[in-house]
């Protein structure tokens, strides 16, 4: 598969205005390029701007300055509803707090983004079942989030991120709320999405084990890219 940039961030600046005169610079001119099939970890201390960066990459927030290209399309000036379509079709999200809809069953939660894409319930549920099988939740499909463990909820969230078959999965501290064992399982699941399904994975994490598995680690500090490391031992597959 030919290499192409799925993410291209050009001089991204994000400022927050706190009150009349106080301006906080969350991101100060970030340039990042991520190719398809890469597994990238974004690492940084609390307040470094890594979550803001993730939100901008995930089209949940717009940069104050700079441009964001996702698969070659400039999304930095898109309107709310256009961004919603990009989020639905090009990206999959995995959050630290799982963020499932409590009134819906596992299968309904997974089907949700597909339903928003206008696919009928039957088709969306059929695809959701397939994905829940893949993440090892065959016997938990009809359970609601409060009937599932943290690890199981995160698997549901991962299945949900895959439902519209996006090329890119963005994961924000996906193991942050989990015990070591469940965390490890999620790390392996994300890695298999990259290795077996060729998904581009971008993960924001404190979890060293998770970061170590990435092809590339981008260290963020004070809203800037401090340094980058590439994993030497792993042979790039594609």
């Amino acid at each position: 598969m030919a290499k192409r940039a799925v993410f291209k961030l050009e001089k991204i600046t994000k400022q927050y205005r706190m009150g009349e005169d106080v301006v906080t610079n969350a991101l100060c001119g970030i340039d990042i390029e991520i190719e398809n099939g890469e597994y990238v970890a974004i690492i940084g201390p609390s307040g470094s701007g890594k979550s803001t960066l993730m939100h901008i990459m995930g089209c949940l927030d717009s940069p104050t300055k700079g441009r964001v290209f996702i698969e070659g399309i400039d999304v930095s000036k898109m309107k709310d509803n256009e961004l919603a379509v990009v989020r639905r079709e090009k990206l999959g999200f995995v959050f630290q707090a799982y963020n499932l809809v409590n009134t819906l069953t596992a299968v309904e939660n997974v089907a949700l983004p597909m339903r928003f894409a206008g696919v009928g319930r039957g088709e969306a549920v059929r695809r959701a079942r397939e994905l829940l099988k893949k993440v090892g939740l065959t016997d938990r499909m009809g359970h609601k989030p409060n009937q599932l463990s943290g690890g199981q909820q995160q698997r549901v969230a991962i299945a949900r991120s895959l439902i519209n078959d996006p090329d890119i999965i963005l994961a924000d501290e996906p193991t942050g709320n989990l015990d070591t064992k469940s965390g490890q399982e999620i790390v392996e699941l994300l890695e298999s999405l990259n290795r077996k399904m060729g998904k581009t994975i971008v993960v924001v994490t404190h979890h060293l084990g998770l970061a170590q598995r990435a092809d590339r680690r981008i260290y963020i500090k004070d809203g800037k890219v401090e340094r980058e490391e590439r994993k030497a031992s792993r042979k790039r597959r594609r």
């Binding site: 919603a84 989020r87 963020n99 928003f116 319930r121």
Partner: protein, 371 residues
Amino acid sequence: MMYDMLLGELMRHKLRTGLTITGVAIGILLIVSLGSFSEGIKIFVDQQLAYSSGLITVIKQDISFEGIMYSKVDENVIDELADIPGIEDISGFVMGTTPEVGWFGGIDFSKVDMFSGFSVELDEGRTPEEGADEVVLGYKAAERLDAGVGDSLKIGGRSFEVVGIYEEMGTEDDDSVITTLAKAQDVLGMDGEVTMVIIKPEDVSEARSIADFINDEYGDSEEIKAGTDEDVRKFAEQLTDQMSAMTFAMGSIASFIAGIVIMNVMFMAVRERRREIGVMKAVGATNRHILIEIMAESLAITFAGSVAGLVLSVVVVQFINGFLGGSFTAVITPSLALESTAFLMAIGALAGMAPARQASRLNPIEAIRYE
């Protein structure tokens, strides 16, 4: 819109949903039951007006149409008025109530044909003869008094023989006991007086000018007033319009309260579900998806409330009609049911609008962070 999600949300807070639906149901109950009275009165008035179609009614001057049974007009007036040019026929009427049989009236049976808008047929028997203690019954009165042809009824302390039963007329006369003019005057203590005088003009288009002539020439001297069926209709319309206005006012207040309740509940629901709405937006819901979802919830609650309210109204109106028992019945017409539901649905849509807009405009990041 996703029906499964809608149902899930409504079932999440069963008590709250139930109470809101009850609030809406009470609103619609108020509108429909009050409206059913207006409708009932309209139908009743139309039936009554069928009698006097094209006729002129003469009653005592200081009596209004709703107090018509208290009217007393000197019988001699009939002969005086009969000489007015353009009059085809004229007849007196007596009506009142007696403790034994209720509605009791006297008419000139030879002049029943005057009522062109209305036909009266005997189901069995014949009409009373002049001078005889005989009565004819409306079908409801026959049922109520459990009397048939050949039976005798005590009226005003005297014994009257039932000689005939009328077919259903669809008016309050169905519940009346009727005899000759003279006998009714006798029983009701109205010697030389009638309740009203009915005049049939030769030409219906002259009814207005004849009524005006009577009022000008005889109004003050005989203490009478004449009105055409149009006057009665206008008066009745005024009455029903007032009733409709009251229904509308009370219904509006009830609907307004229902709307506030719905809006409050929907704002609460949006506030509780901020995080979930944020998640939905993060995974691809557009503002429109969220707007429709919240609006649908508001409309679903309103619709459920409306249906419950309509069912409740049918029960309550039947119960009230059972009490009224007589010729007047409150009626829930299909248009009343449809209009009330549509009105409430509009209120539900308005009430859902602000919370839905608020929800649709939530910033997904802020909403996801919200706990």
